[in-house]
Amino acid sequence: MTALAPSPVMYDVERIRRDFPILSRSVHGKPLVYLDNAATTQKPNAVIDRIVRYYREENANVHRGVHYLSEIATNAYESVRTTVKKTINARSEKEIVFTGGTTEGINLVAYAWGRKNVAAGDEIIISAIEHHSDIVPWQMLCQATGATLRIIPVSDAGELLLDEYAKLLSSRTKLVAVGHASNALGTINPVKQITEMARAHGAIVVIDGAQGIPHLRIDVQDIDCDFYTFSAHKVYGPTGSGVLYGKEALLEAMPPYEGGGDMILSVSFEKTTYNALPYKFEAGTPDIAGVIAMGAALDYVASIGVENIAAHEHDLLLYATARLQEIDRLRIIGTAAHKAAVISFVLEGVHPHDIGTILDQEGIAIRTGHHCAQPLMLRYNIPATGRASFAMYNTREEVDALVAGIGKVLEVFG
């Protein structure tokens, strides 16, 4: 987020838009304005074509056959581990476990690390602005072990109260789990500081990176977190694939998550020897095309430069914030100083669901609802919000369309 402002020559949003075929379609007779990127991003040709090429030319199971196609597929699949390693600056490919997505990554840690290392009387700390996927697995772990869940409170602006967090930390704290960026408010959390504070009490740290990876340069060694997990589909890749990064020593000491093929070295009815990292955690045939296409997505992002994308999105965030604040009856929920390009808002006298329907008629896609963060909605005493979330291909003109669309909402509701 400290990148230089993008020069128009360097950042050609129109050229980028041409890489995303869906952006040229219309919805209800209007050009699509896609502002639901925190739910899922659209896919560039590089990703779509990679999936097609895999199925047309390379399809075979991985780590199995000696035949030509199996070797091609295995190489393509395994090369993504190196791509991910570089993208997040992990130390080794052994630290990169492929998963079905962020949720599976969190559940894997809660199950494989948690059941072994958490006991009655221990405490797990999460924050008040977590997505349900970073709440429920920890609740389940607490129920199974007798541990207690503690919550870092949040300010009215949507920033975690680190003084309160400091008070929660103790020798009982076994694990701290926070999102890198909030899907509902956009707040970017100081994950490095949060990790350092947890470390001082001997706790491990899990970062839910679902909203981090699309907007930020990720350096897991710099953050020094123990686990970092994300989904491909939030970063222009396909649904169904994702990554769990874990420090090698921790992964090594953890029991497997699921049993099956590929995660074993040898099986007899008396004894099974588990495979080495990272395969120990990858039972069964994975989403091979999904992983390969995730690699294509990360390569695509790298070709544009995540700092350039972040700068472009930050410009959109500032512009959209200013334009939306011009609307009298509109209130933005989440005004942290450090924000990803996500704007949650409420409109006095109009329920977000009605806003969503009316904007949809204008071809504008936003998310309305509780954003899988019901405790957060309760914190702000609102049932739901409308949420516009931006990606590398959005434009100021689309922000203008959103503002005009909200004008229509006010017209209908008077």
Binding site: H351, H353, I358, H370, A384, V412, F413
Partner: protein
């Protein structure tokens, strides 16, 4: 805008702004919560049932314009009716908002006709039917109704 005006008809906007029977019913014999977790719509329906007759009905809660106006119109529609009649009206309304052909004339539909536009918006059918499902659940003796 034409489709939108079909959906957000004047009756709906009016009932959203000034919901009728929007109150707790201290003498209620049945009280049921209706909840749509997807959008957070949340209502409580109060029924004062005397034998077979719905003597009075009220509701509280919050949600979108479609769900709130639907609850409001429902309270007016079923007040004073028999349980059997309320069940029949449930079916009439359900057909109307899901676009199923029904044999009820517009005149007979009365205020309910304002919800005919909902059938063009499948994502909003649950909003329109939440209060109705809740009312029906109350008559069946349930305590919490979820339309998710």
């Amino acid at each position: 805008m034409s489709d939108l005006r079909e959906l957000y008809q004047q009756v709906i906007l009016d009932h959203n702004k000034n919901p009728r029977n929007f109150r707790e019913l201290p003498e209620a014999t049945k009280k049921v919560e209706g909840y749509n977790p997807l959008c957070g719509d949340h209502y409580t329906i109060y029924l004062d049932v005397d034998g077979d007759t719905i003597r009075d009905v009220g509701f509280t809660g919050s949600g979108c314009a479609i769900s709130k106006s639907s609850a409001s119109v429902m309270t007016q529609t079923i007040k004073g009716k028999s349980k059997e009649e309320a069940e029949r009206l449930f079916n009439v309304f359900h057909k109307l908002v899901t676009g199923e052909p029904g044999d009820t004339s517009t005149a007979e539909l009365g205020r309910l006709a304002a919800f005919s536009g909902v059938s063009e918006f499948p994502a909003r059918v649950k909003c329109a039917t939440l209060a109705w499902h809740t009312m029906r659940g109350a008559l069946e003796g349930k305590e919490v109704i979820s339309t998710e």
